[in-house]
Assembly symmetry: C2
C-alpha cells in the first residue's frame, strides 16, 4: 500500500518555483468554473502520518485558490452538541455546498483510526464503522460530490527526520511536542491500522491517493496537480459522477516509482546460487510437509512479470522442492469459452487449493488490471473496481487459511530485448517468442504505470507484493524461494499465537 | 418489511388456470432469448420461511421453462471439499454461465441466518458476512448478472395452517417433520434475524422481493411474472446492468395492498375520544419528562400522508402534551436554495434533536420516494438507492438513542374530496387548498404504489411504519398518541435490559 510513498520522492526548489505560478493560475480558473457551474461540491480529505505536512498543504491550497469559497474543517474531540447526536452529524454539518470546496483536516477516518490504535475500538467495531463510511461516501458520490482522499505517508525514518528538521527551524520548532515523539512509538501500529482502513475503504468511487510526505515541494505540487486534474475531469463529465475522477495513477512528478527504484544489477554467483538454492528448497520442502501447514493452511503463489522475466524457471525451482501430488501449477492464458461466460474471478476460484495444498499461478487475476487494462480488453470502470474486488478475494483466501504470496519479477527493457533475441537464436526456445511479445514491448511504459498502480492498490498487509529484481536469474530464484519460506514460517508461527479479534 | 406479505393474498384457481398458459409461453420465449443472447446469467434466490412453498415454486419454474438450461442448487452442510476452502467457494462453483438460469434453493443467506438464530454467530460476525455478501452481489451485477432475490413470507398463523394442510394431504404429509414444528417455535427469532438481514442487503442493485407464501396460486403466478418482467427488462437494456431490473413495485396481482386492507371505517365517539386523548396526552407528557428519556434518548416523529389527512391536527395534539422548549416541529416543503446545494438528506440532518429532545417532521425524507418519485423530480436510480440510504440514516438515529416513530395517515380518495370541498367553503381553511392539491389527486394510484413500496422497503424492526386509519380524525389522533406512548415505553424499558451485542 505504501511502497511507492517510501521512495524518497523529491523535486528541487527551482522546478517548484517554475511550476507553481502556472498551477496557481489554472487552479484559480478551475475553482471559478466549479463555483459558477454549481453542480457539485469538492470534498478533500487530508489525512496521514503525523508531521507529514498536512497543515502546510492545506495552507498552500488556501493560498493558491480563492479562500472565500473554501472551508477548512478540523475536528477534535466532539462537542457536547455533537455527542448527543449520531456521530456523523458533525460531518454532515460541515459538508461544502455545490460549487464550494471543503477541506477536511481530520475527517470521519481520524477517530476510528485513533480509537483502534489506542485499543478503544474492537476490530469488528472498526469494520462496522468503515462500512458506514463506505456507504456515506457512496452516497456523497451518488449525489454528485467529487471526493478526493489524500493520505500522506512517511517512512519511520522519514518521520523521525522530519521532526528533527522542524525542531531545528525556529519558526516551526513549536509544532514539535512531546506527543509527536510519543506517536513515533506507535508508528508500526498506525501503519497496520491505516493499512487495513485504507484497504477496506479504497473504493472505486472514492479511492485513496497516497502521497509521500517527506519533501514539501514534491508533496505540494503533487496534491495541487491532482486536485486540478480531478476538478477538470469532473467538470467535463456529463451529468453525475459514476466513475472515480481522481486519476487512478498518480504519475509521480519526479519520475520515481517502485520499479525504477529497483536495483536490477543485483546478482548471485554460481556457487553461492547453488548453495542458497539447495538451502531454501530443502527448507520449503520441510515447511509444506509440516503438520502445522498441512492441517490448516494452504499456499497460493502468484507470478506476474514482463515476458521473459523468468517466471517459468522460478516456478520450476519451487515445484522441485515439493511432491507432485501436493501442488498444482495453473498457467493463465486467455480465458476459455466456458470462462468467458462467468465473472472474471471465476476461473481463479475453480483452481483454489484445499487445505494442505499449493497452487502456483503463472499469471493470475491481476491480468484484469495489467493486460486487460493496457490493451483495453475491459472498460475503465471494470478495472477500476477490480482493485477492491481482488483485495476482497485475497482477503477471503487469507481468512480461510491461505498464505498468499505475490511476486512481480522485474527485468529492464534492455534485458528483455537481449532475452528475446537469445530465444530467437536458440532453436528449442523459439516457441517462447511470438509477434505478440514484440508488440507488448511497445507498450512498456503503459505496463509500468499499470504495475505501479497495482502495487499501490493491492499490496496489503495480508497479501503484500514482493518485487523481485530479475535481471539475474540466480538472484531472482533465490529471492523467490527465500520469500516463500519466510512467509510460510511467519504464518505457521502466527498460528501458535492467539489471534487478536 | 413483511407487512404487505401478511394480507392474505390469494387468487382463485380459475384465474390461475387461465393465466398460466400465456405466462409459460412467454417465459419460454424469453428464456430462449436470454440463452441466445448469452450476455448475462440469471441468478434466482429462493429463500424464506419454512413451508412457504419454496420447493413447489422451484418445481413450477422448472416445468414452465426448458429445464436443460436451468440449474438448481441446494446447499446443505458444506462438504469436506468445501470446508477446506473459503466459504464462498461453493457458490462460485455453482454460478450459472451467461445465458443460463441458476436457481439457488438455499443460498449464501441460509447459513448466516441459521447460525444467527441458533446463536452460533455473533451480531458483528453476521454484519461482516452481510458485507461480504453485498460486495459479492455488487460484483455479480457489475459483471452483468441479473440477480433476483425472493423471500417467501408467512405469518405465524399462516405457517401453522400450512403445516396442517400439508399433513392432511397424503401426498405431502411426508414433508412435515418434527423439525417443522420445532421451527415454528423460533418463528419470532427468524423474523427478527431475517428482518435485519433483508434490511442490510436490500441494495439498489439487488433488492429483495418479498412474496406472501400462503396461497400456492398467488405465489407461483407472482414469481413467474416477476421473473418474466425482469428478464425482459434486462434483455432490453443496452450494455451492462447499472440499475436494478427487478420491478421495484411488486404490483400485487390480486390488487390487495397494505393500504387497501386498512379498515377506514374505524371511528371513535366524542366522549371516548376525549377521555382517551386526555389519557395518552398525560402519559406522553410523563414519558418525555422521565429521566430515563431525557438522559439518553431523543424522539423523532415522522408524519406522512395524503393532503388533508389530518397531519397538522395530530401534530398539535402531540405538541399539546409537551413543553414548547422541548420539541421542534419541522414542516418540510420544497427545499431552499441552500438545501438544494447539498445531498438530499442534509436538510434533515440539520434538524435532528439532541438527547432529551423531540423533533416532529411534518413530511420528511420520505419525500424522495413519494413526491419526488411520482412527479419525476429525481432520476429512477436516485429514488431506488434512497431506500437503503434512508434505512441507513434511521439506523444511525436509532444507534444514537433516538426513538423513530413513523406515521402514514391514510384517508380514502372520497374522504379527501369531501375535505377539499369543505376547505374551499370554509373561509379560514381556504389557504389550505391549492391547485397543486387537486393535481396530486389525479395521481392517487401512483402515490398508492409508492406508499406500498415505501412501507415494504423501509418498515424495519428498528423503525417500523405505523399505518393510521384516518377517515375519522378522532380515531387517528388517539392511535397516533397511543403508538407514541407505547414506542417510548418500550424503548425506556429496553434500556433497563442488557443490550445484546
Amino acid at each position: 500500500m505504501f511502497e511507492s510513498a517510501e521512495l524518497g520522492h523529491k523535486i528541487d526548489k527551482e522546478t517548484f518555483k517554475r511550476e507553481v505560478p502556472k498551477l496557481r493560475a489554472e487552479l484559480l480558473d478551475v475553482q471559478y468554473d466549479v463555483l459558477q457551474k454549481r453542480e457539485f461540491p469538492v470534498v478533500i480529505l487530508i489525512s496521514g502520518v503525523d508531521g507529514s505536512g498536512k497543515g502546510e498543504t492545506i495552507n498552500l491550497l488556501y493560498s493558491w485558490m480563492d479562500p472565500r469559497h473554501i472551508s477548512t474543517l478540523a475536528f477534535s474531540a466532539p462537542s457536547d452538541e455533537e455527542r448527543s447526536r449520531p456521530y456523523m452529524w458533525r460531518y454532515w454539518r460541515a459538508l461544502p455546498a455545490k460549487g464550494k470546496i471543503g477541506i477536511f483536516a481530520g475527517s470521519w477516518y481520524s477517530q476510528p483510526i485513533a480509537d483502534r490504535i489506542s485499543g478503544d475500538m474492537r476490530r469488528s467495531e472498526l469494520d462496522e464503522r468503515l462500512d458506514d463510511i463506505n456507504r456515506f461516501e457512496a452516497m456523497l458520490v451518488n449525489e454528485g460530490a467529487l471526493v478526493l482522499k489524500f493520505w500522506f505517508h512517511l517512512s519511520k525514518d522519514g518521520q523521525k527526520q522530519r521532526l528533527k528538521a522542524l525542531e531545528k527551524n525556529p519558526n516551526t520548532a513549536w509544532r514539535v511536542t512531546k506527543e509527536s515523539y510519543e506517536r513515533l512509538k506507535t508508528y508500526g501500529r498506525l501503519q497496520e491500522v491505516a493499512g487495513h482502513v485504507l484497504r477496506v475503504t479504497n473504493t472505486a468511487h472514492a479511492p485513496w491517493i497516497i502521497v509521500e510526505g517527506t519533501d514539501d515541494e514534491y508533496r505540494s505540487l503533487t496534491v495541487g496537480r491532482i486536485v486540478l486534474d480531478a476538478m477538470k475531469r469532473r467538470l467535463n463529465q456529463e451529468g453525475r459522477q459514476l466513475v472515480p475522477v481522481a486519476p487512478p495513477i498518480v504519475h509521480p512528478i519526479d519520475e520515481k516509482n517502485v520499479l525504477s527504484e529497483l536495483n536490477l544489477t543485483r546478482a548471485l554467483g554460481k556457487k553461492e546460487y547453488e548453495s542458497e538454492l539447495a538451502r531454501y528448497q530443502s527448507r520449503l520442502s520441510e515447511l509444506v510437509r509440516d503438520g502445522r501447514f498441512a492441517g490448516k493452511r494452504s499456499l497460493v503463489v502468484v507470478f506476474e512479470g514482463p515476458d521473459a522475466a523468468g517466471k517459468g524457471g522460478s516456478i520450476r525451482r519451487i515445484a522441485g522442492a515439493m511432491d507432485a501430488r501436493q501442488y498444482q501449477i495453473v498457467p493463465i492464458a486467455a480465458p476459455t469459452e466456458e470462462e468467458r461466460d462467468q465473472p472474471y474471478l471465476w476461473r481463479f476460484w475453480r483452481h483454489l487449493p484445499r487445505t494442505g495444498r499449493v497452487a502456483i499461478f503463472d499469471r493470475s487475476w491481476y491480468g484484469r488490471v495489467l493486460v486487460e487494462r493496457v490493451e483495453g480488453f475491459c472498460a475503465e470502470s471494470d478495472w477500476l473496481r477490480a482493485y477492491a474486488e481482488i483485495n476482497d478475494f485475497e482477503h477471503q483466501l487469507v481468512e480461510a487459511g491461505a498464505v498468499v504470496v505475490k511476486f512481480w519479477l522485474h527485468i529492464s527493457a534492455d534485458e528483455q530485448l537481449r532475452r528475446f533475441k537469445e530465444r530467437q537464436e536458440t532453436e528449442f526456445k523459439r516457441f517462447k517468442i511470438t509477434e505478440e511479445d514484440w508488440r507488448n514491448r511497445e507498450k512498456w511504459d503503459a505496463y509500468v504505470s499499470a504495475v505501479c498502480d497495482m502495487v499501490d492498490r493491492t499490496s496489503t498487509g495480508l497479501a503484500p507484493w514482493t518485487l523481485v529484481e530479475a535481471n539475474d536469474k540466480n538472484y531472482a530464484r533465490v529471492k523467490v524461494l527465500r520469500t516463500l519460506c519466510e512467509r510460510l514460517e511467519a504464518a505457521i508461527e502466527d498460528d501458535g499465537k492467539i489471534s487478536e479479534k
